[in-house]
Symmetry: C2
Subunit: 429 residues, 2 copies
């Protein structure tokens, strides 16, 4: 007989936990009809019982012992919302051993140990869902696993970090420096006091690992993902890119190169006509290329109490339906392949290079000749005189092997008439 009531336990009651509880309460009637049974939050494990909270619940359901959630025989679904590896991983494993279906938004845990967790859930015939771990409220994991599952995916590319997208958008719209916008973002609460995880690209690295693992059915190790953040992006790069018809975005990219995969996080120059180019401020978007569907894009809010809560509740609803139809575990881990990773050095890409040189005869020709020595051919070059007698030279290369470009820039950087290579950024098409 199918269960006529679903009990949920939350571990963690911060921003996302609060949003989750609020949605389950405020939309309880609609959700019950969509599921065919009511869903109740039965227990919430918190760090401290007497902290003030955005969304108030009956204090009787709060506990400081997460085991009261993982071990409660009446709880059907455990939502892990504390983040990080410790104690999240052990608690989730404990819950799985106790026969609980899992919903989590924990990107770090999924990127580092998703494999072990998904297999444990599968062996126990349980659902394990993590839609909220990537791009907040935007449905992307379910669509990759379900509606788009007929496709072989060639590429996933996402703006998956709101902080860096906010900073780059502001630098673009206000013609402002990185440091100033970062300070403003910190003041507004859009960036952490220690912004490294965001501006260094490491938050995006976790999310890209998850996206690429699902798209390519192959577990992507964090160590195989090259990561470059946005700290080197200057106001001038954004200005020059704009003149050339591009915007600068931080993308998490996974590509299937015909068996091997390349997964990486780095800034790119993106043509203004690209669907991702107009995704601004704290919005996220994930662009997917499938062999059948072609280009699709998913756009929305990548973080926040209610958007991420929406993803959590979506997973709870699906799990509840599976519990009621006796089909939990119907879709297990999809990482059945093991595709080798290709280092970013071996990839071909177009590059934007901005450098400053002394403004003397033959400088342009000499630099161009070094590019040529390393098999890097040039698509366009723009030279501009600087007030101090130097010249800024901006190059867009044709597709070149990245290692060759790096070698060329090494040599160019040591030419005596080159004051400095300011930046080199990949150009997406």
């Amino acid at each position: 007989m199918s269960k006529d009531h679903i009990n949920v336990g939350l571990i963690g009651f911060g921003v996302v936990g609060g949003g989750t509880a609020r949605i389950l309460a405020e939309n309880a009637e609609t959700i019950a009809k969509r599921v065919g049974a009511p869903i109740t939050v039965k227990r919430i494990a918190v760090r401290s019982l007497d902290r003030a909270r955005d969304f108030a619940v009956d204090p009787a359901i709060l506990t400081t012992r997460p085991e009261d959630v993982t071990d409660d025989p009446e709880i059907d679904i455990v939502c892990e919302l504390v983040g990080g590896m410790d104690p999240a991983y052990d608690l989730v494993m404990r819950a799985i051993k106790n026969g609980k279906n899992i919903v989590t938004a924990n990107k770090e845990m999924m990127a580092k140990s998703g494999n072990a967790l998904l297999h444990a859930a599968e062996q126990n015939g349980l659902d394990f869902s993590f839609e909220g771990s990537v791009a907040g409220g935007i449905p992307i994991i379910q669509p990759l696993k379900q509606a788009l599952a007929g496709n072989k995916f060639r590429k996933v590319a996402g703006i998956v970090n709101g902080t860096t997208n906010y900073i780059l958008s502001k630098m673009t719209s206000d013609d402002a420096d990185f440091a100033d916008v970062l300070a403003e973002a910190q003041a507004k609460g859009y960036a952490e006091a220690d912004p490294t995880a965001d501006v260094g690209g490491f938050d995006a690295q976790y999310k890209t690992a998850i996206l690429a693992s699902i798209a390519f059915n192959s577990r992507i190790n964090l160590a195989d993902i090259s990561v470059e953040g946005i700290t080197k992006i200057a106001k001038r790069d954004i200005e020059v890119a704009k003149d050339l018809g591009y915007v600068i975005k931080l993308l998490g990219i996974g590509e299937d190169l015909g068996g091997a995969v390349s997964v990486r996080v780095h800034p790119v120059l993106l043509p203004k006509s690209h669907p991702l180019a107009s995704v601004n401020d704290v919005y996220n978007a994930v662009f997917v290329q499938g062999d059948a569907v072609g280009d699709v894009m998913f756009y929305g809010r990548g973080a926040g109490s209610m958007p991420t809560g929406s993803a959590i509740v979506g997973d709870i609803i699906e799990t509840a339906r599976n519990i009621r139809s006796g089909s939990t575990g119907r879709m297990g881990c999809t990482c059945f392949d093991s595709k080798p990773a290709v280092g970013v050095d071996q990839l071909e890409a177009k590059f934007y290079v901005r450098l400053v040189a002394h403004d003397r005869p033959k400088v342009l020709a000499s630099i161009a000749s070094v590019f040529g020595d390393f098999d890097v051919s040039i698509e366009s070059v723009v030279q501009r005189a600087l007030p101090d007698g130097d010249a800024e030279i901006v190059w867009i290369t044709h597709k070149a092997i990245e290692a060759n470009l790096r070698s060329a820039l090494d040599v160019i950087g040591r030419l005596k008439f080159v004051a400095g290579v300011q930046n080199s950024i990949r150009v997406e098409e």
Copy 2:
């Protein structure tokens, strides 16, 4: 014991049927791993056995009798891909009575009779999926029913007809007239010889009925949807809109007004910053507003053999998983509410009005005064002298009840110094 092989039968082997068979064949290995069992096309009902086809299959599986598909005891999933009501509806009902799970891309059948079909499938414990019926390959129906199911939806708004979006995009980019672009689209095969279903908005009406029914959990009757196509959009309207910071798009819109719903298809002026504004050419996109998730958008190809085939195969894969886990019918018809429809006349909207008047003193004031008589207040007005001594006057109103605006335009159109009201178009925010 779970089925170790899933058999599919197709009814219809045209553009979408060919794409479906191709994807199932070319991606067979990946799909089998994702499902846990191989999926085979066992039988295909066609109109004529000897027509040349884009994708060749073993002729032995072709039949001209659709009953060979609906009645085959070895077939698990029947895909109806012939379109229209007759004979599709009867064939699908027959297949349901024979215990077949259904996948269809038939927008007309779903908009007209989705309720009866979904209930019949539900009573028989069968899956019934129709992702391909709206916006081709773009996942939208699954996300609304699953990942976003925690939300109460306030609004869905979609560019769901590729032909009209192509025509409007071309009129905008090439500064061209409707008739010329339509002729070009017909030559390219983007528009039918009889383009009424597309340019009249009726194709979008079916799709909007489906979207709104799912979003609002209430069956939307076609008769309750007001429909206006793009035939009245002049090159000049697009030009003026552009100057004012807008683009013109044909949208299918559903809104929950707090219990009652408004569903309609009509052209709108959309601010250039709106996510839907940069969706061009044959691309489709659906914009959704949920109370928890906020704004999300789904973008991609809305038609074509492989994109729509991608949606069909995604539905087949989900159904196959449900068959294997014994949970077909786990998600039934979600139209459990019955919300009254509000006529478009009763809605408030901002309007763009373009009219031509004789260029004489007090003309502007007289017209403005008529607007005022009908409670329509004006946000902005731009007057431009025409070569022949007349003046073009473009008005953007504040929010006004549509019926009031229509009454005002009736009176204005009969003023002796007004040569004609050229167009009035809703302005979206």
